[in-house]
């Protein structure tokens, strides 16, 4: 670690300092001495690969495979962060707003083109600099094997004769497979509202519901349904792709039966928009090597995912076209009418608030919510200590992103030890051992992206 030129002249103040202030000074001068200098070669520290979906899912598997291979290409650790939640909003937002220094890249998924149409975020594909599309899976329609429909036409007739009777799922409301189904219905002159969409989060629980008899149709990608297809529990009526799937050569595509609609999910790598060209080129060539490698292709094939390798320009064009297509669906009056649901999002909170009111008033009336005698007395000194502890956590939130995990944590521990009147050499030795140890443990072994800051390795 090269020494920082600016940080050499500190820590000369001496004298009747209390033991802890001395600890502080020693620490601070230490950090300044060790601080890293600004100019660097890219990449020289761990890269974070944001995956907007949870550990264990399909996207996570792809992200971890890419991460493991990119690590070898780039020579620095590539840590997968599962920034889950908000139906993909969290991860995509974090990825788009990250500092464009090449140390944060995102595994963007098909939802990128849908979230903003649903009014959930302002982030669109234009906030990213696409690197490569790395996988693509076509949608298909599934029913139970004992269902009375053998062809897509029979299913359409059933929907036409009894609109609003059949139930379908595959993902949450307005998700990719819902749009896939709605697009098919619109193209075959049916209304999206003719099939009731049960909002179930994820294709696996939707397939479970299909088997339990809670829904009649599931729309999802082929690999997701493969085991149940192989087991003969469900059958596929149509594939929403340009050509037949090699996995299901007997199943017709929608286009073959005269419906002009395709839908798919895909995954790709993208960086924040303003990533400088030189770093973009380094990343791109690494990603190209990974995606064209036999290892990656075997992984996709064995895990049941479809292969894709769209270079940046084509990827961007595909994003643009798809975004426009989804915009048409989402803005269509027919789909808008489906979106307003009978049981609105405020039903459950309202019920809870009423229950809360009842419980609270009952407890207060019966005097059951008082502070018991045995509770500790609140003293000014005690509250002060609590305040310092709370402040310490806030300090971590504010400071660690800037100066890094180790200086912040050392500062916090020093402050707390001072408050609890720990002897300074005990405090110092705990800090010197514990802080680097936890950093090594979490940041290096467990791949937690602890803030780098002034020192880190």
């Amino acid at each position: 670690m090269p020494a920082d030129q600016n940080g050499t002249k500190t820590g000369t103040v001496r004298s009747p300092l209390k033991h802890l202030s001395r600890t502080f000074l020693i620490l601070i001068s230490g950090f300044l001495l060790l601080g890293c200098s600004g100019q660097e070669e890219y990449p020289n520290r761990p890269i974070n690969l944001i995956c907007p979906w949870s550990a264990g899912g399909g996207s996570d598997r792809v992200a971890r495979q890419l991460g493991a291979q990119l690590e070898r290409e780039l020579g620095v650790p590539v840590n997968v962060i599962n920034a889950t939640g908000g139906a993909g909003v969290t991860g995509h937002t974090r990825g788009a707003l990250a500092r464009p220094d090449g140390y944060t890249i995102t595994l963007v998924t098909a939802e990128l083109n849908m979230l903003h149409w649903r009014g959930l975020t302002n982030i669109t594909y234009r906030d990213f600099r696409p690197i490569m599309q790395v996988n693509r899976d076509d949608a298909a329609l599934f029913v139970r094997s004992d269902a009375p429909w053998e062809t897509l036409q029979e299913l359409e007739d059933a929907i036409k004769s009894k609109p609003g009777e059949l139930r379908a799922s595959g993902t949450a409301f307005g998700g990719i497979w819902h749009v896939a189904l709605a697009g098919w219905l619109l193209e075959s002159d049916l209304k999206p509202a003719d099939v009731i969409w049960i909002s179930i989060n994820g294709s696996a629980p939707s397939l479970q519901e299909l088997m339990a008899g809670g829904v009649e149709v599931v729309s999802c990608s082929i690999p997701e349904a493969q085991s149940l297809l192989d087991a003969g529990r469900i059958k596929c009526l149509a594939v929403m792709a340009g050509q037949r799937s090699p996995r299901l050569p007997d199943v017709p595509t929608l286009q073959e039966v005269g419906i002009d609609w395709t839908a798919r999910t895909w995954r790709g790598l993208a960086a924040p928009k303003n990533l400088p060209d030189d770093r973009f080129r380094i990343l791109l060539s690494a990603v190209e090597n990974v995606v064209s490698s036999r290892e990656y292709q075997t992984f996709l094939q064995q895990a049941g995912f479809g292969y894709a390798a769209l270079p940046p320009a084509e990827f961007e064009e595909a994003l643009q076209q798809e975004d426009a297509r989804y915009g048409r669906i989402f803005r269509s009056a027919a789909f808008q009418s489906v979106r307003s649901q009978r049981y609105g999002p405020m039903l459950f909170p309202t019920v809870l608030l009423v229950l809360l009111g009842i419980t609270l008033s009952l407890l207060l009336l019966t005097g059951n919510l008082g502070i018991p005698e045995s509770a500790q007395k609140l003293t000014a000194a005690g509250l002060g200590k609590v305040g310092i502890a709370v402040g310490a956590v806030i300090l971590y939130i504010l400071l660690s992103g800037r100066i890094g995990y180790m200086p912040t944590m050392a500062l916090i521990l020093a402050g707390l030890f001072w408050m609890l009147k720990v002897r300074w050499f005990v405090a110092l030795s705990v800090i010197v051992v514990l802080v680097p140890l936890t950093y090594q443990l979490f940041a290096v072994y467990l791949r937690v992206p602890l803030p780098w800051g002034w020192i880190g390795w």
Binding site: T90, L207, A303, P349, L369, V386, L413, L416, V426, V448
Partner: protein, 513 residues
């Protein structure tokens, strides 16, 4: 069957490679599980790239072992620091931590270890024999059954809490309300987010749990902290008496001191163990339920049949024993729907499906015929894993007692550090650290008024799914509430839940008179 079993035995118990991998995974699992904020899923996800170079059986054996060990290891920070390592431990935090306050963490941890191992073994055996049949039951679960199951789990959390039912109910409602923050998955509409993108992800239960229990405990200790002096006496269990040889102290003494009392406790109440194991195994095999609900429901049943129900939440070894039995028995169950239908029961089995596919093994009903050896190997791995857990767990318990000896003034800042790290580790998010802090203050305030914290955590975990299942069921039925009773299984679960509430109400009234 016999043939396949023999082959499976040969390929697992008979293979030094598998033993070595299991031993390594056990240490790794205990290690990761013991760190607050890192879950069993995380341990497995980090390990996945390594599985590419392993054969299917060692790879799966490794995953089985690290999960089984991580769930037990979650009890270690729960007991020592009051930071639940996994949500499955949140059910009995107060029971376990009471023993640390009394200076006897080894009693709680010994019980947890023995019962975890026995529960794990029980789960493996049940599923080896009945797995295929049980899978059919799982396939019958539609949204309305899940609704009742979640409600049953939540009700159990209220019933088992110490003190008044009213305060536990308050805690539960607070938890459920906290769960409504963020994007409603079923409506895909934002609620209570005030336009902040961070709030879209809602309140993650891991930082919430660390805050509610760990951070609030730090704050509670700081309030009462006397700078001038008297360290709370940690009663030294060390008895004088004659010095034994180191061999005795390393190998025999832990067994005598830690395992034997726990085993005696278990042996005295075998029936309870059987009940807890069955509850765990049954709930575990339902996709979307799992070890945490298993622990709560089993704890509720345990309190119902206990002679000393008033001890629950105040250091009840019985409750601790039953809950740890159930959450480990639930683990093996989660693999059933994954293997039979390719539907993952939790995030760990989702990873397992990925590993299976990568090894050219397709999950599906025929896996029991085509890949019988592999399936039996998985269950044998559960057994081996639990056996290996005994020495590894013991070592961890022995190491843990040094934590208790650290003076409080040094330990408190270190716990605070781990609270911050644990909250941050899950997603690398500062917002989660903020959540942890907020929940720490909330937990501190609630505890002062003697409101239990367990139901808050379970409310945060199950609030989203409960609402989703409710909306899904009524949407599917066209708006009638009949949907919750018109299927036999749903009706049975619903009746059970209602019975639980009615009987708790009657007991409460009878006590007053």
């Amino acid at each position: 069957m016999g043939d396949a079993l023999m082959q499976a035995l040969q390929q697992t118990a008979g293979s030094p490679e598998v033993w070595l991998i299991i031993l390594f995974s056990a240490v790794y699992g205990v290690f990761v599980g013991a760190i607050p904020g890192l879950t069993a899923t995380m341990a497995v996800a980090l390990f996945v790239p390594t599985t590419y170079w392993l054969d299917p059986i060692p790879a799966l054996a490794a995953i089985v072992t690290m999960v089984a060990c991580a769930i037990f290891a979650g009890d270690i920070p729960t007991t020592l620091l009051r930071i639940p390592g996994t949500p499955a431990s949140a059910a009995y935090v107060d029971d376990a931590y009471t023993f640390t306050r009394q200076g006897q963490p080894e009693r709680a941890l010994g019980t947890a270890l023995v019962c975890s191992v026995l529960g794990g073994l029980f789960g493996a055996v049940v599923l080896m024999i009945l797995g295929h049949q049980l899978a059919r039951v799982a396939a019958l679960f539609s949204v309305s059954e899940y609704f009742w199951l979640y409600l049953l789990g939540l009700s159990s959390a209220v019933v088992v809490s110490r003190g008044s039912t009213g305060r536990a109910l308050l805690a539960l409602i607070i938890g459920l309300l906290l769960a409504t923050v963020g994007l409603s998955e079923v409506h895909t509409q934002a609620r209570f987010t005030f336009g902040r993108p961070e709030l879209f992800e809602g309140i993650n239960f891991i930082p919430a749990m660390i805050g509610l229990f760990g951070m609030s405990e730090v704050l509670r200790n700081l309030i009462g902290y006397q700078t001038t002096g008297s360290e709370p006496e940690t009663p030294q269990a060390e008895k004088s008496g004659m010095r034994r040889s180191w061999l005795y102290r390393v190998f025999i003494q832990p067994v005598v001191e830690v395992i034997r009392p726990a085993w005696r406790l278990f042996a005295r109440r075998k029936g309870h163990g059987l009940r807890s194991g069955s509850i765990g195994a049954l709930i575990g095999m339902l996709p979307g339920a799992g070890a945490d609900i298993g622990a709560w429901v089993s704890l509720a049943a345990s309190k119902r049949y206990s002679k000393t129900p008033e001890q629950y939440g105040r250091g009840s070894l019985e409750g601790l024993a039953d809950a740890t039995t159930a959450n480990n028995a639930a683990l093996a169950g989660g693999w059933i729907p994954a293997l039979v239908f390719g539907i993952p029961g939790d995030s760990v089995t989702a990873i397992v499906i990925g590993v299976l596919l990568m090894k050219n093994v397709n999950p599906g009903p025929e896996i029991f015929q085509k890949q019988a050896v592999l399936v039996y190997s998985i269950y044998l791995s559960f057994i081996l894993a639990n056996l290996v857990l005994i020495p590894v767990g013991l070592a961890a318990i022995r190491a843990g007692r040094y934590v208790v000896r650290i003076p409080q003034r040094i330990l408190l800042p270190i716990i605070l550090l781990f609270c911050v790290l644990g909250a941050y580790a899950m997603k690398g998010s500062y917002f989660d650290v903020g959540i942890m802090l907020g929940m720490g203050l909330l937990g501190f305030l609630l505890e002062r008024r003697d409101v239990p914290l367990g139901p808050v955590v379970l409310g945060i975990i199950l609030g989203g799914p409960l609402e989703a299942r409710f909306i899904q069921a009524v949407t599917g039925s066209g708006g009638t509430l009949l949907a919750f009773f018109d299927r036999p299984m749903a009706a049975a679960l619903g009746t059970l839940t209602i019975f639980l509430w009615v009987s708790t109400g009657i007991r409460g009234l009878m006590k007053k008179e």
